[in-house]
């Protein structure tokens, strides 16, 4: 309990950044001696109205970073400013102005859908009449009006997630944090959620989201960082990163059982970089079809061949040597 509630001091320097992290660290169990470093000193800035992504595999430190931004988990090193306020000392004041969608659904299972919104607004000290008005609009926004008076147990995964998002909007936040918003949802539910998130973006809300889905990052994020092992390994726009770390296209080749190694050897030299995965090989090329023809000419006979656009998954593979979703 070190949170104070003192007044914000004077003017905010460099008003432009919504969030600014410098050398930010998170070490768990530090009080008990050794501990585990989940975030090992990262720098980033988020600008107003931007959709900012944190892409990384499980255990990269995404949630730890998000919890520090949400001021629900104190940082153990470096500095973090949110909305120009120091996250270490102004936690309650910052939380009043942001919306948080945690990784695991944490809707209040003892209450109905509408009650979830009503009580959540009270946690922000909003007047009841105002909360009722916003709750009705948010239920509509989240497509949950029909379910308003049901217990949350009756909701599907996608509905719960939308309720969590609606709840995070009750205080008209300037920033919304979304930790893996679509993980575990079926494709239809994901698309509905994306569409809702686009709406928030259109309304000028700054979004920060973590994901390990590259399509999600490509669709939603204006700019993103790639995290691995508690560090930021690169930063840029989805298109920019693909351009920087990849070729335009990727040729994926699958081989019959036992053939892969021999075939891979034959394919070497066709392109500058070949990535070997357990079930297939990836050839980074600017002309997929031409490379495939060249491969055929060398006697490389794949079971299947697929030419596709390079994606963030490839960027991740290039940077870490591992696949994003295991």
């Amino acid at each position: 309990m070190t949170e104070t509630t003192r007044q914000p001091q004077g003017t905010v320097p460099e008003q432009a950044a919504m969030i600014r992290a410098r050398g930010l660290q998170k070490r768990y169990g530090a009080a008990r001696g050794e501990g585990f470093t989940a975030v090992a000193g990262i720098d980033f800035e988020v600008r107003p109205g931007e959709a900012f992504g944190i892409l990384g595999a499980n255990g990269a430190g995404k949630s730890s970073t998000m919890r520090m931004i949400a001021c629900t988990s104190p940082s153990t090193g470096g500095s973090l400013d949110v909305l120009g306020l120091d996250a270490r000392t102004e936690g309650a004041r910052i939380r009043a102005r942001i919306g948080v969608v945690p990784q695991d659904d944490t809707v209040d299972v003892e209450l109905t859908v509408r009650e979830n919104l009503l009580i959540y607004g009270r946690y922000f000290g909003l007047p009841k009449a105002e909360i009722r008005r916003r709750a009705t609009e948010l239920l509509d926004f989240a497509r949950l009006t029909d379910k308003a008076d049901e217990r949350v147990e009756a909701l599907s995964g996608g509905m719960r997630r939308r309720l969590t998002i609606a709840r995070a909007l009750i205080n008209e936040p300037e920033i919304v944090l979304l930790d893996e918003p679509t993980t575990g949802l079926d494709p239809q539910a994901r698309h509905l959620l994306w569409e809702r998130l686009f709406q928030l973006k259109d309304d000028g809300i700054t979004l920060i989201l973590t994901t390990h889905y590259m399509d999600e990052a490509e669709q939603l994020c204006d700019r993103l960082v790639v995290m691995d092992g508690g560090l930021i390994v690169t930063e840029g726009s989805p298109g920019g990163l693909i351009e920087r770390y990849c070729t335009r296209e990727v040729l994926e080749l699958r081989f019959g059982p036992g053939e892969r190694e021999a075939m891979t050897d034959k394919a070497r030299g066709l392109v500058e970089r070949i990535e070997e995965l357990p079930d297939r090989i990836l050839l980074y090329t600017d002309e997929g079809e031409a490379t495939l023809a060249a491969a055929h000419a060398r006697g490389v006979v794949p079971l299947t061949a697929l030419t596709r656009r390079a994606s963030l998954e490839d960027v991740f593979l290039t940077l870490t040597g591992r696949s994003l979703v295991d």
Partner: protein, 271 residues
């Protein structure tokens, strides 16, 4: 939608910050008990059974209670205040142990609450406030039953209400501190292991002077003994400085327990 998300009218954080959110926590519980208020009514039933079995049943054998200043006190009149104190204790402590454990470990209720301006301190304080109110409410319900049984003679009995609030505070805070140490449902056995003997021996059913002096000293240290004192004295028509010691004791124990609970909860909820 853009009406909701349009120009940013700030959510009046000052207001939420001032109370630390304790009031909102009480509101959450009221919202839930709107659906489940019958549980509270059921809780009045238990002390009524004890009153019938011991006060009325055994009371018929015992007659008046020997060793009291006022030798006219019937046994049921002696037991009823102790049951009132026990009701306040249980009403409050069940909330901060059983119900709180559920919220802490099963439902993770506080994780999302703490993403708002609410603080751990506000949450803890709010839960204690609700628990003591709940304990006092059940106690008042039982007091009505006691009155119906014809065991109330003095208007001083109204002091039971502030008494129950204080007893509720102490045990709510104790429960909150204890619950932070529990790992699973089996651990509730340990609470039972402390609560049952305390209920039986803290002068609930007979006066303190049946014990030899060393045991008396031990019993006087029990929070339930001090709670019973706080409520029994005015119920039997006594009102004086004798109430100061139990009141001070309960405030001190509750305050210390609350401070411990703050620290433990902060560590558990803000890793």
């Amino acid at each position: 939608m853009s009406a909701v998300l349009g120009p940013h009218v700030s959510a009046r954080p000052e207001l939420a910050l001032r109370s630390g959110g304790a009031l909102a926590m009480v509101e959450r519980n009221l919202m839930i008990y709107r659906h489940t208020w019958l549980l509270l009514v059921a809780e009045i039933f238990e002390p009524v059974l004890y009153l019938l079995a011991f006060g009325v049943g055994i009371g018929g054998l015992v007659g008046n209670v020997p060793g009291l200043a006022d030798t006219d006190v019937r046994y049921a009149e002696f037991v009823a205040p102790a049951l009132l104190a026990t009701t306040a204790m249980n009403g409050a402590m069940n909330e901060t142990t059983f119900n709180l454990f559920n919220k802490l470990k099963t439902n993770h209720t506080y994780e999302s609450i703490l993403t708002t301006p609410m603080t751990v301190r506000g949450v803890a304080l709010g839960e204690v406030c609700w628990a003591l109110l709940r304990g006092a409410l059940v106690t008042v319900g039982f007091l009505v039953a006691v009155t119906v049984f014809g065991l109330v003679h003095s208007p001083l009995v109204l002091l039971v209400i502030p008494g129950a609030l204080l007893v509720g505070f102490t045990f709510a805070a104790l429960g909150l501190a204890v619950v932070t140490y529990l790992r699973d449902w089996q651990d509730f056995q340990y609470i039972q292991l402390a609560m049952l003997p305390m209920f039986l021996f803290a002068t609930t059913f007979y006066p303190l002077d049946v014990y030899p002096r060393p045991v008396q000293l031990l019993v006087e240290c029990l929070p339930l003994y001090q709670s019973i004192e706080l409520i029994r004295q005015p119920s039997l028509g006594e009102f004086g400085v004798g109430l100061l010691l139990p009141a001070a004791y309960l405030l001190a124990v509750g305050g210390l327990a609350l401070m411990l609970a703050f620290r433990r909860l902060d560590r558990a909820l803000r890793s």
